[in-house]
Symmetry: C2
Amino acid sequence: MDSRFTHIVPSSSFNGNTDQNEKYSDDEERSLYSFATALSMSGGDGDNSYSTNSLLQRRVLSKAKPVLVKNTKELIINLNFPKYIKVADLGCSSGQNTLLAMSEIINTINVFCQKWNQNPPEIDCCLNDLPNNDFNTTFKFIHLFSEKNLTCKGSYFVSGVPGSFYSRLFPRNSLHFVHSSYGLHWLSKVPEGLEKNKMSVYITTSSPLSTYKAYLNQFQRDFTTFLKLRYEEMVPNGIMVLTFIGRNTIGNPLHRDCCHFWTLLSKSLRGLVVEVYISKSKRKHLFLL
Amino acid sequence: MDSRFTHIVPSSSFNGNTDQNEKYSDDEERSLYSFATALSMSGGDGDNSYSTNSLLQRRVLSKAKPVLVKNTKELIINLNFPKYIKVADLGCSSGQNTLLAMSEIINTINVFCQKWNQNPPEIDCCLNDLPNNDFNTTFKFIHLFSEKNLTCKGSYFVSGVPGSFYSRLFPRNSLHFVHSSYGLHWLSKVPEGLEKNKMSVYITTSSPLSTYKAYLNQFQRDFTTFLKLRYEEMVPNGIMVLTFIGRNTIGNPLHRDCCHFWTLLSKSLRGLVVEVYISKSKRKHLFLL
């Protein structure tokens, strides 16, 4: 299970002049922050780690590769073969997947510059996820990344950027390329108005339409925040490649295909309540973001 | 014991067009890299962690504070109250100390800009150490850092940069301010010519002068590399504040005061060899960098 969660409270950055829609008091910020810090993927590279169980996410990266390559080339042309570019992977997670997209971008740039007989730019590779993400594990894989790119003629520099992508993460006007794969469907907080969706962690076929709308509203607010923030951070002519989970069934928002996986999770949790492994009151607070 | 070690092999960055003095074949690079990855401080924040046992380093930071503050103000004047500055702390280690210098820099800039009625710049705070450094623990302290700086009127952005400061870590012409405290005395590799310094991990009062010279030569090579690399990375009018361990006794390089601490360590290791906890052959390979 992918456990990348995001939260709207600034964590690694603080913008005193923020123009975000949501503003909290100091106390609220602290309480929301502690909520955010409690969220993290399963770290390390053991059997139960995210790193070892993210084949689906790897497949998504692989499927989106042609779009990534095409847009990377376009960026280099847009910027007229620049000397320097800054690339961010938002919601990078931990493990080997983390460096796959970056590797593809570096490789594409180098081959493309070579083809056009131009010097490749220096590349700043910024890997972002929540502060509780296991950056240590990701950094341990960097030597493999370096070995893979030893033939690369340009220079690249890797950094880890801890913080929610629903907060400012980078200085104004600094990013040339933003990539995010399989991360933006995670919301910043539990949507408001889930009271009628008792005993389910997400939308199910039996949920009231208000549950679907609550999730939709939260997504719209979050995605708007995301776009506004990236607008501040990106240079003109920059490019974003965002890979999302989508729906095949537009007509019926409660269609089984959209949420079957999470329905099974809800059922399992209900089973744990019946068997008294989880109390009913605790269960009420379990929601999928 | 401070266990920050450094190594000359590029780890998080690779510069195909490197003009460093030292060049290695692919095999040598790989072997040297595996040597570097084996080195790390004691992570976490438990009783035996670096984080919990770095009071000395905290005192060093505290003593150097006036120099840091003075130079931070000079930087802002040099750059004529810029909109953006990028600050790097090289050999940042893990734990709360890591963010102390950054906090001081941010605070100084904000108060100084306020005094001169200028908008504070956006600040990129880059925390560097070897890839095996426990960045996770450092990132966990970021919320305290954010809380401490909540009154800060400017924006700042924290990132972790894994790699040796004896390799390129940042793009050309990008750094405005470089800070390094109590880290640059760690060498990139075991000096050559320590054959005659048997059974000691470092210079002792009984070491031959050749041992002292071997360490001095390695330091000079490393520090030259460090300065050359930072020269490439820093902007004109940038500033560096480097805090070193120094010597009170210039006349006698083998003076007890310079190495007594490590002499005790050598003796302890010799004791472990006598008691067969460490084999004689393994002991031969133990050196302080």
